[in-house]
Every structure is written in structure tokens, then in C-alpha cells.
């Protein structure tokens, strides 16, 4: 039997999975790598370490028993968006990769914000102007490095391009990853001159653009040997993890939405049209030619709950995070919806969508003398979900949404799932494919191999295994909270700024 191997190069780890011809997961391996913060606003990763981790995970999966029964016929790549790695003419990295979480370009982003130039760039590229965007990061390099260094940069590539370059010697970028750089025109599918001018680079300083099912990549023979593959195994370039996660959740047409809450979170919809938000709050990335994945990312997902757990969860030595999370959720379940009238703004890490305010900060409000720890736990969960709702509310101004498909470690926890359903007042589904980013990659490969006629048909094969019904009473109650939540998030902007100045 044949199998598909997906390689998902994420922020904290690479996950390599094998799927059979029906897109069932048959095995996986993973390896982690760290993020370095040489300065408070910096987030960097070592490209060689990521490459070695990819090799290690691939090798250990492909040299396993499993691949004796299943012959790998295609390898397909997914990866985090927005990373920037400058390389020289020999393909050698000139420094560590700068990843999406890096905020060094704050001043550049603020300077561009609210200008006509900003609006034009956003309309053409679909990527909100923000320090996460490679557009801003390259501009930062342009203004903060000596000209002699900048001239040495042969190309600015992403971590995914580097891994593929190491494996094949080819410098290419798929249109999906490219569409998250802020440098790519999502309408013409070419590099966008206006954005390149702003960043200060020429088109030849970026990789050649290819569609996501591009399979002309040739694995170097050393790796064919190392992975014990046959040279017939195809390499498919693939897309970004966000687009794959949407496809892998079964959402590629209008009408449904996905909600992901892992460490960060996002709400996404798919469609043939881009969402034209005059306030530039939503991204429009390309899954493939003709399908846009639009939505909003939040910084404050599971990471906020983990913060709570670490600070107030338990005092035991060698605290086991997962155990403590579950203990706290049991406590929170005993509190009725609304946490006794307490409300939490979860902006511990500033916020992207829908506020796009790096200075936003957290707050518990409405606390009274009868509130106990369990109310705070409940309020924390609810606050994270109110934030997701504030993205969803705006998205619904542009798209009707019937069903919600949830994924990610936190969204699929029963309490989170039920509160999501109650707050949105919609039925919430959990799919059989837990890792939807890898599943999406497998669906693309299977479509490319002719198993499915197109991605739409492939997406239809995703099945839901669990669902949560909204409780109408709770929904009504939550509606009053989300109204206050949205108002407070706006109203406190000035005070957020004043507090940040003191931090």
C-alpha cells in the first residue's frame, strides 16, 4: 500500500506524519526546536537546527517498520507563515531566521499604518501591516543593518524555503506561503512592486513563485538514500500551515468557519473572494489559485490559560502542566456561565485581530468579594473565547457562517468547546482528523495524485466525530458579556498605552 508523508514545520516543532490513501493517519514523529529571544522584542530560530530536526524526524519515520508495509509515494510540506531568513549567494544563512512572533519592526509598522500606502499595500497583498509581516521585517533589515551587509543578501527566504533548498538545491516558494509575506499580489499572483519598493528589494531577491501542487522538486540523492526512498517518490511543495489547517478541517467553501485555539489562535473562513475590510483587520491568504483563506489571528489563546495555570494553578514541585490544566477546568465547570459577572480581557501579549493593538493588556473586571479562584478560572476561559467571538462577529459582517469546526489543543477541550458553542450560539464540530494542518497537506497530495478530483471533494471526506449544541440560555447571557467585552477593549485603549509606558 502507498502512503503520503506530510512535513509540518511549525513554530515549536516539526511533525512528520504518514497517511494512507484514504487520508487516515498511520504514523508520526516529531522533534522540537527552540525560539531565541536575544532581545525582548526578538524571536529567532536556528535554521540548521530546524533542518536537522526535520531530517531526524523524517528519517526516523521513514526508516521505521511502517514504511515497509506502506511505500511513501509523495512528501508534502506545510509550514508556519511570516518567517524571514537572509541567505548569501551560496545559500548560507547570514543570520538566524526571524519568525512571525518577532516584533522588532514595531516602529516601521506604526510609521506605515494609516497611510494611503498602507491601504494600497494591504489591498494588493492581503496581509495586514504588522511587525509579523516579512514586508516589515525586510524593511527593518534595510534600515537597521549596514549597507554592506544588506548587499550581501542574495535572497530573503522563509524557513520552509530553506528546508526545501537544503533537500533539493532549488529555491522556490509556493504561492500560499508567499501570500503571507505582504510582498505578494493575491490578485495577480506575482510579487507586488509597490510592496517590494517599500521593503527596499528587487523581485530577484525573492524565490521563484510556484503553485502549491508544484512537484518538480528533486530530492538530492544523499537524502533519497538516507530516507530509504525510491527516486519515484514525489516532492510536493505544499502550502502554509494556516491554509492547510482550514482545508484539513473540511472548510474550503463559503458557509463554514474554523476556530483554532492552540497556544495562539485564529478564526478562518474560505471563499472565492477576498474580504475587503476597510479597517484592514483580516488577512486574505491564498490556499490555491481561486481559493482564499480569510480571517483573524489572536495572540492570546492557550498561552494565556497556561500563564494562569503556572501562576495560580498549583504549588507542587515538578508541576505537570496537563494535569493541572485538567484540574482547573474541573473547578471551572462547576461555575455557571458568566463567571458570576466577572469578565476577563485576555490581552497578555498585546493583540492582533481584531484590535491590532500591540499595547492592549489583560484585565479582570467586575470582581466582587464573593468571587473565588474557580470564578477566575472560568473567567479566563471565557475571556479567551470572547476574544475569538469578537473576531467572529466582524467576520460575519462579510460572510454567513453556519457551522464551526474547531481544532487545536485548547479549542477541543470539552469546556472550551462548549463555551465556544454557547458564546457563538452555533453548533460546534470536532473532526476525526485532530491535526488538521497535516490532514490538509495529505488531502492536497492525494488530490495531486488523482485520488480526489479537486480540493473541494477532498475536503468533503473529513468527518466530524463529536459535536456541541449551544445552550440558548447561556447564549443569551453570553451575548450581554460579549457586548461589554467589545466595548471595554475599545474604551481602554488610552489606559493600555499609559500602562505600557510604565511596564
Amino acid at each position: 500500500m502507498d502512503c503520503i508523508v506530510t512535513i509540518d514545520i511549525g513554530t515549536t516543532k516539526v511533525k512528520v506524519s504518514a497517511f494512507d490513501q484514504a487520508a487516515n493517519l498511520i504514523g508520526w514523529r516529531q522533534g522540537t526546536y527552540p525560539t531565541f529571544h536575544p532581545q525582548p522584542n526578538y524571536s529567532e530560530q536556528d535554521p540548521e537546527q530546524i533542518f536537522l530536526t526535520v531530517l531526524y524526524a523524517l528519517k526516523s519515520l521513514l526508516n521505521d517498520e511502517l514504511t515497509k508495509k506502506h511505500k511513501p509515494v509523495a512528501l508534502v510540506f506545510g509550514a508556519s507563515m511570516h518567517s524571514v531568513l537572509p541567505i548569501d549567494k551560496q545559500g548560507v544563512p547570514l543570520r538566524n531566521a526571524v519568525i512571525w512572533a518577532d516584533n522588532r519592526g514595531r516602529d516601521e509598522a506604526n510609521a506605515l499604518k494609516n497611510s494611503d500606502e498602507c491601504r494600497l499595500i494591504y489591498e494588493q497583498t492581503g496581509t495586514p501591516v504588522h511587525p509579523m509581516s516579512p514586508l516589515i521585517k525586510i524593511r527593518w533589515f534595510r534600515t537597521h543593518t549596514p549597507a554592506t551587509w544588506f548587499e550581501k543578501v542574495y535572497k530573503f527566504i522563509s524557513i520552509k524555503e530553506y528546508i526545501i533548498y537544503q533537500l533539493t538545491g532549488q529555491l522556490v516558494v509556493d504561492q500560499s506561503i508567499a501570500s503571507s509575506t505582504g510582498l505578494f499580489n493575491i490578485h495577480t499572483h506575482q510579487w507586488e512592486e509597490r510592496a517590494l519598493n517599500y521593503a527596499g528589494i528587487q523581485p530577484h531577491q525573492l524565490s521563484e513563485l510556484v503553485p502549491i501542487d508544484y512537484s518538480e522538486l528533486k530530492l538530492k540523492k544523499e537524502y533519497v538514500r538516507l530516507f530509504r526512498l525510491t527516486s519515484a517518490a514525489k516532492l510536493i511543495i505544499g502550502a502554509s500551515d494556516g491554509c492547510f489547517a482550514t482545508l484539513g478541517a473540511g472548510v474550503v467553501t463559503e458557509g463554514d468557519a474554523t476556530i483554532t485555539i492552540g497556544s495562539s489562535g485564529a478564526m478562518r473562513v474560505a471563499g472565492k473572494q477576498v474580504i475587503k475590510d476597510p479597517k484592514q483587520r483580516f488577512f486574505n491568504y491564498l490556499l490555491n489559485e481561486g481559493t482564499y483563506i480569510s480571517g483573524g489571528p489572536t495572540n492570546n489563546g492557550g498561552v494565556v490559560f497556561e500563564w494562569f495555570v503556572q501562576q495560580f494553578g498549583a504549588s507542587g514541585i515538578h508541576l505537570d502542566l496537563e494535569y493541572t490544566v485538567n484540574q482547573l477546568l474541573i473547578e471551572a465547570e462547576r461555575v455557571p456561565a458568566g463567571a458570576g459577572g466577572m469578565l476577563f480581557l485576555p490581552y497578555l501579549l498585546g493583540e492582533r485581530a481584531p484590535l491590532w493593538n500591540a499595547n492592549a493588556r489583560g484585565a479582570y473586571i467586575g470582581v466582587n468579594i464573593t468571587h473565588e479562584r474557580r470564578h477566575f478560572i472560568r473567567a479566563t476561559v471565557e475571556g479567551i473565547i470572547y476574544e475569538m467571538h469578537s473576531i467572529g462577529k466582524l467576520l460575519q459582517q462579510y460572510r454567513s457562517i453556519q457551522n464551526l469546526y474547531i481544532n487545536g489543543t485548547y479549542a477541543t477541550l470539552p469546556l472550551f468547546a462548549q463555551v465556544l458553542s454557547d458564546v457563538f450560539g452555533k453548533k460546534v464540530y470536532v473532526n476525526d482528523k485532530h491535526d488538521s494542518a497535516s490532514a490538509g497537506a495529505a488531502l492536497l497530495a492525494l488530490t495531486h495524485l488523482g485520488v480526489y478530483p479537486d480540493l473541494e471533494a477532498a475536503a468533503k471526506t473529513i468527518r466530524s466525530v463529536e459535536s456541541y449544541q449551544p445552550n440558548p440560555e447561556n447564549h443569551e447571557r453570553y451575548a450581554r458579556f460579549t457586548e461589554i467585552f467589545d466595548r471595554l477593549s475599545q474604551k481602554l485603549a488610552e489606559d493600555f498605552d499609559a500602562l505600557v509606558a510604565l511596564q
Binding site: T12, T53, P93, I317
Partner: protein, 291 residues
């Protein structure tokens, strides 16, 4: 007589103990407690009162049973030079060698294994100066050392040295546990990663790595595997090869130098490991980069 010359006892029998002092201060003393480097591996216990000190430029408020651990090059004292009312006890050990660039060697008196002493040095270097809050155990140990010295009973020299070892081991364990308690494993692991990268040429063992995050080696291996997908040693090799890849392509250093710098004991060992992981020998990989 200056405050600083109030030893509990004459220390001629213990050359490695620079000071063992108990200080009761009944009145506020101006100009007695400036910020300065006092030298030695110093352990200060707060016994009574409340003290506001600058420890390596960081302001700390200390309460009874708080313990401050300082390396010989760390400075501390009151930002206003004032010694507040209260009582303190401190012990200063003079290690045979301990500098920011030199490994810790306590001296012949200590029964702690040499490798453990080196690890202790590295941990102290990265984590001290550190305030261990409400750590009465250390204050009690200090009291016992003091009693032993004063009473000079049968074989008290041996007993004092044993107590010193116990004190140091207790503190080092607490350093890494306090670290581990406050943060989750991923963060403790990130800190370990930094330490590994800072001294890649050191022949790390699993036991040493485990000690850094304050775990036993079995629990550590299990946690690392489930967290990172690698065994601890494979994770370390991964970092070593990543660094070697960088040096191969960005420097003109010889293969042997790169091998030794990244913690391989021979260029042969380096080459086989490199090939096993990357599919290329280091020489082939270097050439590939310059094509």
C-alpha cells in the same frame, strides 16, 4: 572595630572558610553597608528584620529565612549604604578556583565529585546571584556548622566539611528546583538549551543535564523524549551538528577544530555522526556550500 570583622571563631583550621559570621545589629548604622564585591562563594541568611539590598544592580527586599547565594565576583549591599536593624549570618567559602572563565574547584576538603563541582560552578554562574525565598533549611545548616566549630567535639573538622558539602548540594538542588517549579518544563528546557549552546565543547552527560532542570535522570529522559521527540543525548548531538554546519559553511576552520569546538572527541567521531545525520560527510557538506 568595623562590623565586618566579627567572626564567630578563628578559622585557622579551615583555610577554605574565609568567614563565618553572625551579625546582630540593634541600631541602624549609616555608611556601614555599601554595595561592594565581597569575594568568595558567599551564602547569606537573613535571620531577623527586613533588608533592602542591591544585588548585582537588582533591588531585592529580603525577609527572615531568605537566602542569598553569590559568586566571588558578585557585588551587593544597601543602596543607601545603611545597615538596617536585624540579624544576619553568612558563610564565605574560598574555592581553590572559581572565576567567570574558570571552572569551580572547591578544594581537597570537599567530597563532592569533581564533575559535580564543575556542574555546580556552571549552575551558579548562570543562576546566581539568586535569592532563595523562605529557605530555613539553609539557615539551620549554617547554625549547625557554627555549633560544630564552636564546640570542637570529636572529629569536628570532618563534620564541618561534610556539612559544607551538604549545604552546597542543598543549595544547588534548590536553585534548579526553584527554577523548575516556577516555570513549566518547556521553559526549563529552553534554559538548558542555552546552557548547552554556551558550552558545547563540554562532555555533557544525561545526569548533568537533568541536574540543570532539577530532575532525576530517569524522569528527565522521559520528559525530554515526550517533549522534544529526541532522547537527551540525541538532542544534544542535534545542537552540536547544527553548530558544526554553521561553522563548516561560514568559517575556514579545520574539521578537527570544528569537531572539538562542538564537543566531538575526534574528527572521526564527528564525521561519522555528521554523515549519519545529514547524509553528507563534513567535507562534502562544506564543498556544497561554496559551489
Amino acid at each position: 572595630m568595623s562590623l565586618l570583622n566579627w567572626p564567630i571563631f578563628s578559622m585557622t583550621e579551615f583555610r577554605h572558610i574565609k568567614e563565618l559570621i553572625r551579625l546582630k545589629n540593634p541600631t541602624v548604622r549609616l555608611d556601614e553597608w555599601p554595595v561592594r564585591v565581597r569575594g568568595g562563594l558567599q551564602i547569606v541568611c537573613i535571620l531577623e528584620g527586613k533588608f533592602e539590598w542591591l544585588i548585582e544592580h537588582q533591588r531585592h527586599v529580603l525577609y527572615p529565612n531568605d537566602v542569598v547565594v553569590l559568586c566571588p565576583w558578585h557585588g551587593y549591599g544597601s543602596p543607601t549604604n545603611t545597615l538596617e536593624i536585624g540579624s544576619l549570618a553568612w558563610l564565605t567559602i574560598e574555592p581553590t578556583s572559581f572565576e567567570p572563565s574558570k571552572e569551580l574547584f572547591l578544594g581537597e576538603w570537599s567530597a563532592i565529585a569533581e564533575a559535580d563541582q564543575k556542574l555546580m560552578g556552571r549552575l551558579l554562574m548562570t543562576q546566581a546571584p539568586m535569592v532563595l525565598n523562605n529557605f530555613k533549611w539553609v539557615c539551620d545548616l549554617l547554625q549547625r556548622i557554627e555549633t560544630e566549630v564552636k564546640q570542637a567535639e570529636f572529629a569536628y573538622q570532618t563534620r564541618v566539611n561534610q556539612l559544607l558539602d551538604e549545604l552546597l548540594v542543598t543549595i544547588v538542588r534548590q536553585l534548579s528546583q526553584q527554577q523548575n517549579q516556577r516555570r513549566d518544563f518547556p521553559q526549563a528546557f529552553a534554559q538548558l538549551e542555552q546552557l548547552l549552546r554556551d558550552s558545547l565543547d563540554h562532555p555533557w552527560t544525561v545526569e548533568e543535564m537533568a541536574a540543570v532542570v532539577g530532575l532525576g535522570s530517569t524522569a528527565f529522559t522521559e520528559k525530554v523524549k515526550s517533549f522534544s521527540g529526541f532522547s537527551p543525548l540525541n538532542y544534544l548531538i542535534n545542537i552540536r551538528i547544527a553548530e558544526a554546519m554553521k561553522q563548516l559553511r561560514q568559517t575556514a576552520k579545520s574539521l578537527t577544530d570544528i569537531a572539538l569546538d562542538t564537543g566531538f572527541y575526534s574528527s572521526q567521531h564527528f564525521s561519522t555522526t555528521f554523515k549519519k545525520l545529514t547524509g553528507y560527510t563534513p567535507g562534502q557538506f562544506r564543498k556544497r556550500g561554496t559551489q
